[in-house]
């Protein structure tokens, strides 16, 4: 199922404050898209708009080429999983899952046995066949989450919308469930849009990441493009740990203000600029400068963390090599793999709300 948004703007109820500002987004059929961004970026608002849950909007929102409100809810083929699951507490798990089928008009409703079969099938799918008769309050967070998913899938939607579905789960369960979700997406030919504030989760599961900030889409691309060519410092910072080094671009070279950091060639107009770099892209040039290096006790995933102390600043780098004491003396820092952003680009980046 494809989704097209053009010049889509949504206002807060009874005010002219824009919750979504001039959104343009196309989601192809069978795509897996993650909406990412900090709290208040408008991710959930956008997801709810796509679900047809909001009003006060202008612009175009087409689902399979038709405005959302042109189709009755039952014909939209949209499954929605709420952040807090929104299960019906007075119904058993089985009744919860069957709800979307139970409320179909009689002419279209499958018979009792067919609904029962569908519920059993979905319970198997979410790997909770023994919990049909349990009530939502008796389930754990991960189980509720899967029941909510099964309920959304019962009517056979082709578009699945998930609002921070893994928020309340512990990290291990999160990873399991999102792999399982991805697998489900592929098997059932779904189009899936997922809201999350966790960029790693988004990169792990989605084909396309839509980075949002202050009601606007900053960049929409796949994970490797976002990593290789972030369009704004915000995208760069949002997608992982980032080090910043102010400096100037002068005659084809970026010269950091910090003298312990080596200048490197950069083609661009002369002027003030800032180099952004991931800690694992930092390298050391032993014996070439004045900075010293201290090993950090913390290391994980076979990586080592080092604290680099220069005359002006201290920061951390990550490397797979266990440095020898010689390599840790009188170093100069190589940040030539960093990205340069000019302040003009930075000022487009609105200040973060406190």
């Amino acid at each position: 199922m494809s989704i097209t948004l053009e010049a889509f703007t949504q206002y807060a109820p009874r005010s002219s404050r824009k919750l979504l500002d001039n959104i343009a987004l196309t989601v192809e059929d069978r795509a897996f898209v993650a909406l990412v961004g900090p709290s208040g970026a408008g991710k959930t608002t956008l997801l709810r708009a796509i679900a047809g849950l909001s009003s006060h909007s202008e612009g175009t929102l087409l689902i399979d080429g038709l405005p959302i409100h042109d189709r009755p809810v039952q014909d939209r083929g949209i499954g929605f999983v709420f952040q807090n699951y929104a299960l019906f507490r007075h119904m058993t798990v089985a009744r919860n899952i069957a709800f979307g089928l139970d409320v179909l008009p009689r002419a279209r409703r499958p018979d009792r046995a067919a609904i029962q079969r569908r519920v059993t099938e979905l319970l198997d799918l979410i790997q909770l066949p023994h919990l049909a008769k349990a009530y939502p309050d008796q389930l754990s967070g991960g189980q509720r989450q899967r029941v909510a998913l099964a309920r959304a899938l019962a009517t056979g939607p082709r578009l699945l919308l998930l609002d921070e579905p893994f928020g309340a789960l512990d990290p291990l369960v999160r990873r399991d469930i999102r792999r399982w979700l991805r697998d489900l997406h592929d098997r059932m030919n779904l189009t899936t849009i997922l809201v999350t504030h966790d960029h790693e989760e988004a990169m792990d599961v989605a084909d396309t990441l839509v980075v949002m900030q202050e009601g606007r889409i900053v960049q929409a691309a796949d994970a490797s493009t976002l990593n290789a060519a972030p369009q704004t410092p915000f995208v760069m910072e949002f997608l992982g740990e980032t080090l910043k080094f102010p400096g100037t671009v002068r005659s084809g070279q970026f010269v950091p203000d910090n003298t312990d950091i080596a200048p490197f060639p950069f083609e661009g107009p002369d002027g003030d600029a800032t180099a952004f770099i991931r800690p694992h892209d930092v390298f050391l040039l032993p014996g070439a400068g004045q900075a010293s290096v201290e090993k950090r006790p913390h290391f994980s995933n076979g990586l080592f963390r080092y604290q680099i102390v220069t005359a002006e600043a201290a920061f951390e780098m990550i490397t797979p090599t266990d440095l020898s004491p010689q390599e840790m003396q009188n170093v100069r820092v190589d940040i030539s793999r960093g990205k340069i952003f000019y302040p003009a680009a930075a000022s487009e980046d609105p200040p973060k709300p406190a």
Partner: protein, 289 residues
């Protein structure tokens, strides 16, 4: 902190309570309930048998008493039935639509709690009486609203309404918005949304409110006697009969009615809490919270 495990009264866990003075507050509340609730009730249970079984059995053979009890119970029940939809509607309007002046309405709902029941009785009798604003046109249509059981039902409906509204309102207010949206997105019609999701969630508070309104209705005296007409075997309520028996110095008769009212009130409470439990499947956590 260790989890709180209470195995019996004798083994209260020795841990710091949120409120200081645990034994003091427990003692005070036990004394309080003992003096104000248990002691009078026990007295009431014992008093009727004071003159032996004979007078009591004699007192219980009183057709007028049974008629009065029947009037009380049936009217209270009908009043609750009328209150339930109206109360639900009122609570719904207050919570969801917030119409202009909803604060005033909100305050007015509690009025039956606040004004003396005798005042209510006089006001209702004037309004629904033969010459009243509602009573006069109703009489033209052949409806006799006062000095009949209908009058009792009117008074009890008025008295019972706040119980329903105030029980339903908080539950309705805290009803999760996303659940309603989920119902909508799953394709349920407005009616299905109400019947399948909202009503089951509201059933426990509706029942509690109904139980309270019913209990209050059985015992209601002040607001009823002005409008009821108080004809024996027709529109005489049980509490009034107690007063009359006392005025006749017929203590056995009075206490026997009181005993029956007490026992039925207790049975009502038990029935309501049982019913509440059975409609709240899934809504109450297993630890009873």
């Amino acid at each position: 902190m260790k989890p709180l495990t209470v195995t019996g009264l004798g083994s209260f866990p020795r841990r710091r309570q949120t409120l200081p003075g645990f034994s003091l507050s427990l003692g005070l509340s036990l004394l309080w309930t003992g003096l104000l609730v248990v002691l009078p009730l026990t007295a009431l249970l014992l008093r009727p048998w004071q003159h032996g079984l004979g007078p009591m059995i004699h007192a219980l053979h009183d057709a007028r008493m049974y008629a009065a009890l029947r009037v009380s119970f049936i009217c209270a029940f009908l009043a609750v039935l009328i209150d339930l939809p109206i109360g639900l509607l009122l609570a719904w309007t207050l919570v969801r639509y917030r119409p202009p002046g909803h604060r005033a309405v909100d305050a007015l709902i509690d009025l039956p709690f606040a004004i003396p029941t005798a005042v209510t009785g006089i006001a209702l009798a004037t309004l629904y009486g033969p010459g009243g604003w509602i009573g006069a046109p109703a009489e033209k249509l052949g409806l006799k609203l006062t000095f009949s059981p209908a009058g009792i039902v009117i008074a009890l409906t008025f008295i019972g309404l706040p119980f329903i509204v105030r029980s339903v309102e908080p539950v309705l207010r805290s009803f999760p918005k996303d659940v309603e949206e989920a119902v909508f997105l799953l394709g349920a019609s407005g009616w299905q949304r109400f019947c399948r999701i909202l009503l089951p969630a509201l059933a426990p508070p509706l029942l509690s409110g109904a139980g309270l309104a019913f209990a209050r209705g059985i015992g209601e005296y002040g607001s009823v006697i002005f409008i009821a007409g108080n004809q024996p075997f027709h529109s005489e309520v049980a509490p009034l009969l107690i007063v009359m028996r006392l005025q006749e110095f017929n203590y056995d008769g009075a206490t026997s009615i009181a005993l029956i009212l007490l026992v039925t009130a207790l049975l009502c409470l038990v029935a309501v809490s049982h019913l509440r439990r059975s409609v709240s499947s899934g809504l109450l956590r297993e630890d009873g919270a």
